[in-house]
Structures are given as C-alpha cells and as structure tokens.
C-alpha cells in the first residue's frame, strides 16, 4: 500500500499537469462552442433557406460523427488541405464543433420552451427582432437550458480524454506515458480515473441538485 502511495505521489505532478491541459482544452472548447451553439440554434430557425441548410449540416455532422473522428479529421486531415495545426488547436476546433452541434439542440429546446405569447408581447410593445431576442426570449430560454448545458460540460471534460489519439499531453496521455515507461498501467490508470471522478462526481451531483431546485419552481 505504501508502495502504491509513493508511486502515485511520484507521478502526481505530471498527472496534474495533464489534468490542467484537459481542463484548459475543455474550457476553451466550451467558450467557443456554446456561443457557436447559440448561433446555430438561431440559424436553424432562420427564415433564409441557405443559412438553415448550412446550420443543419454543421449540426448533424457534429452530432453524427464520433468526436474521435472529428479530432483525427482536424489533426491528421486538415494538413492535407494546407492547414497544419498543433494538437491543442486541432482539439479545440474539433471539440468546439462537437460542443456547438450538441448545445445548439439544448438551446433550441430552451427557445421552444419560451411561451409564444412572450414573442408576441415583445412585438406588440415595439421591440425589434434583435431586442426581443436579447431582452425577452434569450434570458428565459437560457435559464431553461442551464442544467443541460452544465451536464454537457461534464461530458466534454470526459470527451477531452479522446485527445490522447492526437498526442495532446492531457491526463490520459500522461497516464499512458507513465504506464508504458514503468509497466505499471493499473495503478496509474486508477489514479487517472480518480482524478476524473474527483471532478465529475461532485459536478454531477451539483448539477442534479440544481436541476431539482429549478424544477421545484417550474
């Protein structure tokens, strides 16, 4: 047991570095992906046909193709088109695409949950389309979407583990590297699992508590 703790303590700094990269890549992807999701959700409902078409394709490909394939596409595929990116930038593009596609559906559900009368009332008091969206519709729609968006953010932290496949030095890559040099895969993978669990389990519990609390007032 002491041996295990020593092993963990010895490699903890490298693992925490990896965790930091995981959190960074998740954070940047969400910061780009959620606004993208909002734009896609609005574009899918737009009156212009080409815009709707493009938005639907972006959403359906982002949701339909596995995140791993999106990552490999941006990292190994885009250089063929003359666009070479480092693994962090590729990871952010792929995960932001994935985030945009999924969150657009979450936000669309939120937009649909706003009663139609709200939109009519905004029109009746003379707000233009943009102001109606900004002051009336979005504040209500986003409030409905918050629990689902937070739940999705937890999933994205887990999805960032796929960046292992494109050699981003995140948590799983670090664990694998340490495992392959020390031949002690089991303990280091357990530590990786514990680190993910230490973030995701409290976050999951907090999100479901929030959901219950918001649900109680609905």
């Amino acid at each position: 047991m002491n041996d295990l703790v020593d092993f963990w303590l010895e490699h903890l700094p490298a693992m925490l570095d990896g965790l930091l990269v995981s959190v960074q890549v998740t954070g940047v992807s969400l910061a780009i992906g959620v606004p993208l999701g909002l734009m896609l959700a609005l574009a899918v409902q737009s009156r212009s046909k080409p815009m709707r078409g493009i938005a639907i394709v972006v959403v359906e490909v982002g949701r339909g193709a596995p995140a791993l394939i999106l990552l490999q596409f941006t990292y190994f595929g885009l250089p063929n088109a003359g666009l070479s990116l480092d693994s962090f930038a590729s990871a952010v593009i792929a995960l932001a695409w994935c985030t945009g596609a999924y969150t657009s559906e979450i936000i669309r559900a939120g937009l649909e949950a706003v009663p139609h009368g709200q939109k009519e009332a905004a029109e009746a008091i003379g707000l233009n389309h943009l102001d109606a969206l900004r002051y009336v519709i979005l504040p209500q729609a986003l409030r409905v979407s918050v629990p689902a968006l937070l739940g999705f953010s937890i999933l994205m932290l887990q999805a960032s583990s796929l960046c292992f496949a494109i050699a981003l030095p995140e948590l799983v890559s670090q664990a694998y590297l340490i495992g392959s040099t020390t031949f002690r895969y089991m303990p280091i993978l357990v530590l990786a699992g514990l680190l993910y669990a230490a973030i995701c389990i409290p976050a999951t519990i907090a999100v479901s508590a929030l959901e219950r609390k918001l649900g109680a007032h609905a």
Binding site: Q72, F76, A159, S161, F164, A165, Y185, M186, G193, Y196
Partner: protein
C-alpha cells in the same frame, strides 16, 4: 480515394456493429438489476448502486478501456481487445440504461402499480405483465438515442486495437498519408450506420404508441 482504401474502411463496419450490439446487450441486461438496486428499499443496496452508476459515468470510456485492457492484463486474466472493449462499454451502458429505466419508471403512473397490487398480482406478474411492457415503450426512445451514442463511442475501441471503422481509418491514413478524405468517409460511415437505428426507433415508437390509447 481508391476502391482499395474504401474497402479497407468498410471492412471495419461489421466490427463496429458487433461491438455496439454486444455492449448494448450487456448494458440492457445488467441495467435491470442495477436499476432494481438503485430503487431498492435497503439503503445499503441503494448506495452501492448509486456509487457504481456515478463512478461508471464519471470516468471517461477511454480510461475504462485502458484499465480493462492494460491494467487487468498483468496477472491472471488476459482479454483480447474486442472482449475488453465490449466489457468496458457494456458496463458504462449498464449504468446509463439503469438511469433510463429509472426515468421511465417514474413516468409510469403509480396507479398502475397500486392497481396490480389491489388485484392481488404477484410481484412477478406486476413487473412482467403490467409495468414491464409500459416501461419498454417509455424507455425505447431514450434507449435508442443512447444506442446511437454508443455506436459513436465504439470508435474509442480503436485505441486498444479493435479493427473497427476508426481503426481502419487511421490505418489507411497512415499508409497513404491522406487524412482529409479518409476521416470524412469514416465520419460518413458512422452517420450512415446511425440512420437505421433512428428510423427503427421512430417506427417502433409510432407503432407501439398506436396500440395504446392515451
């Protein structure tokens, strides 16, 4: 994109389907006792189930697969990549199915359970003749969308060497130094595979809904 490259990638399709099907089967079956434990009257059972579900869902699939494939391999058990992937994804599916069953349970009116108890039906008949069929119908749409998600998650098995679509795609792209079209085709294959599941689920849902007056 030559025919040879395309054929290599398509040769991954049966593996993807097999892996998804086996993992789904494990999850659908193991999800039942897990859900029963989660809803049990005994606090200990409930806590065990809750911890299992939270842990299985909180740790990324790739860590589970590595843990089962590399971690458990050191001593007494030796699994091939397909077995390791099927067990790992199957366990994760079980946790998610347990939550889907629980959600479906709460959607069934409590009067159904009370009525079958009032009629003096045994626990077995209460579950298999009254609650079960309704549960199946309610749980089907979420189970189908989970199955589509699982199909995409099965791409992760390529990292431990299961010869499915993502594995063949990276194999082909390494051999030919072409990534753009290879991964685009791989993504398209996954999208094409998920379409029949979505259609079947929608059809079954309409069909089952039509048989029950609501």
């Amino acid at each position: 994109m030559t025919q040879d490259m395309l054929l290599t990638m398509v040769s991954g399709v049966p593996w993807t389907i097999a892996l998804t099907a086996v993992a789904l089967l494990i999850g659908v079956v193991l999800g039942i006792p897990l859900c029963a434990m989660r809803m049990s009257k005994l606090v200990v059972l409930r806590m065990v189930a809750n911890t299992l579900i939270l842990t299985l869902r909180a740790i990324p699939p790739i860590v589970w697969l590595f843990f089962i494939f590399f971690g458990l391999d050191t001593g007494f058990v030796s699994l091939n990549p397909f077995q390791a992937a099927a067990i790992g994804l199957g366990l994760i599916t079980a946790a998610n199915m347990a939550e889907i069953y629980r959600g479906a349970m709460s959607a069934i009116h409590s009067g159904q359970s009370e009525a079958s108890m009032a009629l003096g039906l045994s626990t077995y008949h209460r579950f298999f003749d009254v609650l079960g069929p309704q549960l199946f119908r309610v749980a089907l749409p979420s189970a189908a969308s989970y199955a589509i998600g699982l199909l995409k998650d099965s791409a992760i098995a390529s990292t431990i060497g299961v010869h499915e679509i993502a594995f063949q795609a990276s194999h082909v792209s390494q051999r030919t130094f072409r990534g753009l079209d290879v991964y685009a085709v791989a993504g398209l294959l996954y999208i094409l595979l998920s379409l029949p599941i979505a259609w079947a689920s929608r059809w079954a849902d309409l069909h089952l809904r039509a048989r029950v007056a609501r």
